[in-house]
Amino acid sequence: MSSSILETKVLSKAFGGLTAVDKVDLSVEANKITSVIGPNGAGKTTLFNLIAGVYMPSGGEICFQGKPLGKAPPHKRAALGIARTFQNVLLFDNMTALENVMTGQHPRSRYGFFEAALRLPKAHREEETISLKARQYLNLVGLGVYADRNPLSLPLGQQKLLTIARALATEPRLLLLDEPGAGLNVLEKQGLSELIRRIREMGITVVLVEHDMDLVMGIAEWVIVLDSGQKIAEGTASQIQKNKRVIAAYLGDEEAIE
């Protein structure tokens, strides 16, 4: 695994008495689509929050591109190239769809308060680039025509695509998608699969937490299974589908013994 972009070493996170992530070692290969699956409460979202820096680990560490992330806060991790979407969407409802994506360009632009206050040429130039790129990402997810709409006026499927565009606008190396398929219809899920593949082709490593097994099995090149905070299996989609421990975790022990 020389080409891994993200590694966790005996990573743990405890909330009071509950260990949500328990000594997890995992390695995410660069330029692949990796899926983290597991029953409810398995610690998938906590894992994402640890990688994104929302939580600090209780034990172990996370390395991104070979370097330990330490206590870097979320905004620094975004600048390093870790982007994410949220299960509960979290769009900025006080801005248009385009502005939401433009906000994603924050870590890739430099001009600050002073240049903005006086409208210096530097600010002007960077604003042009920001809006140009934002439009490109908006077009990439197929929402170009909704640039001026309020994000909350869009249906859920499109809101989710918009959060992906916003995350892509940070120009990440690693994109974490938290349940991108939840609440989407079959057609929208097909589009989502295609989009995720296209993102991978752009050279971005994708890790997704997802409940929809059809979606996962269709696109994931590597699947990691968590249960009660521990990694219980990993492998290709077809290996995972046959794995006894995975089936046990999902269906309950009795059936697995059969």
């Binding site: 905004h75 900025f92 801005m95 906000t103 206050a117 920001i130």
Partner: protein
């Protein structure tokens, strides 16, 4: 560039009209009421600073009068007791207030919502008590007098009309800077914090730092306004910077529409007119009603929050916009 102009032609036109109005108002229309116009300019500066913090970033401050007061007092003390030039005094006051806001900003913005409101309320009250109690510097409850005028070379700002133009030059600059900040990368980051702090962090925004920065900007605006106030009135006392002054500024911001730069001017104008002119006139015939302003602020805040949560100014503007769109849609048919 042209595209931006086309998109904003209406606001450029409004601004040109506004500037012309500002010039004509004291000279042609309202000679003797220039004092009120000066106050409107000063409160516009304080209010727009608060709008950046409250309306755009979504962070409450119930202590904005504290910064207005530190600007006024520092400027007054430096120029009367230490004989500094008023310009230098104003500059030093602004820097000191900015540093003060920066230092208290980091601990205070660890708090959110009601707790932040309480902390800023406490700040406002503590600073006000200092104005009253540090009487060897501030003159105590009686305040400080004999504060000199500004002057450039031999030209002194020694009458109201001159100071009107001086103060409104500052106010217009402050408004333009605020507008530029709002329409920039920083402005989007501020709105992002308001929208969702978690999402804002995830796109690389340093929310703790940005909250403090915008708090400092608001404090510096208030401080400059305070210095201008002191050198305009030549006398200051703690009562101008008490808790009710902070409430008044919040009422101005709310009346204008919290997230609107030009709304801040509208709000400042409306509330200043009511408290400094309408109620004063009313008080002449019915003295008991002169104290009505406090009741009125509460009432305005309540009514605006319940019926026009976007503020009076923004609601009117939205109504105008939709009227314009309706007309534009009808246009090609006829």
């Amino acid at each position: 560039m042209l595209a931006t102009f086309k998109r904003h032609w209406w606001s450029y036109l409004a601004m040109a009209a506004f500037l012309l109005f500002l010039i004509l108002l004291p000279t042609q229309l309202l000679g003797e009421k220039t004092s009120i116009l000066i106050l409107i300019g000063l409160y516009s500066m304080v209010t727009v600073g608060l709008c950046l913090l409250m309306g755009y970033t979504g962070q409450v401050s119930l202590g904005q009068a504290a910064f207005f007061g530190t600007g006024a007092y520092l400027s007054a003390i430096l120029s009367t007791r230490y004989d500094l030039d008023p310009w230098l005094a104003m500059l030093m006051a602004a820097v000191a207030t900015g540093v003060f806001a920066y230092i208290i900003g980091y601990p205070i913005f660890r708090l959110r919502g009601n707790y932040l409101a309480m902390a800023t309320l406490g700040l406002g009250i503590i600073v006000w008590i200092l104005f009253k109690e540090l009487s060897q510097y501030t003159g105590g409850p009686d305040g400080l007098g004999g504060i000199p005028n500004f002057s450039i070379g031999g030209f002194a700002f020694d009458n109201k009309l001159k100071r009107y133009f001086l103060i409104w030059s500052f106010a217009v600059c402050a408004l333009l800077i605020a507008q530029n900040v709002v329409r920039s990368r920083t402005g989007r980051a501020l709105k992002a914090i308001h929208g969702s702090e978690a999402a804002a962090m995830s796109v690389g925004i340093n929310i703790a730092q940005l909250k403090v920065k915008i708090f400092v900007l608001g404090a510096v605006y208030a401080s400059l306004a305070g210095s201008l106030y002191a050198h305009h009135l030549h006398h200051i006392s703690p009562n101008s910077f008490d808790f009710m002054a902070s409430v008044m500024v919040i009422t101005m911001a709310a009346a204008g529409g919290l997230a609107s730069i030009w709304g801040a001017v509208f709000g400042a104008a409306t509330i200043t007119y009511i408290s400094q002119d309408a109620l004063v006139e009313l008080g002449k015939s019915q003295p008991k009603l002169a104290e009505l302003d406090v009741v009125l602020y509460g009432l305005i805040l309540m009514l605006v929050m319940i019926f026009l949560p976007k503020g009076l100014f923004v609601s009117l503007r939205d109504a105008f916009d939709s009227w314009r769109q309706r007309r534009a849609r009808k246009g090609p048919v006829t």
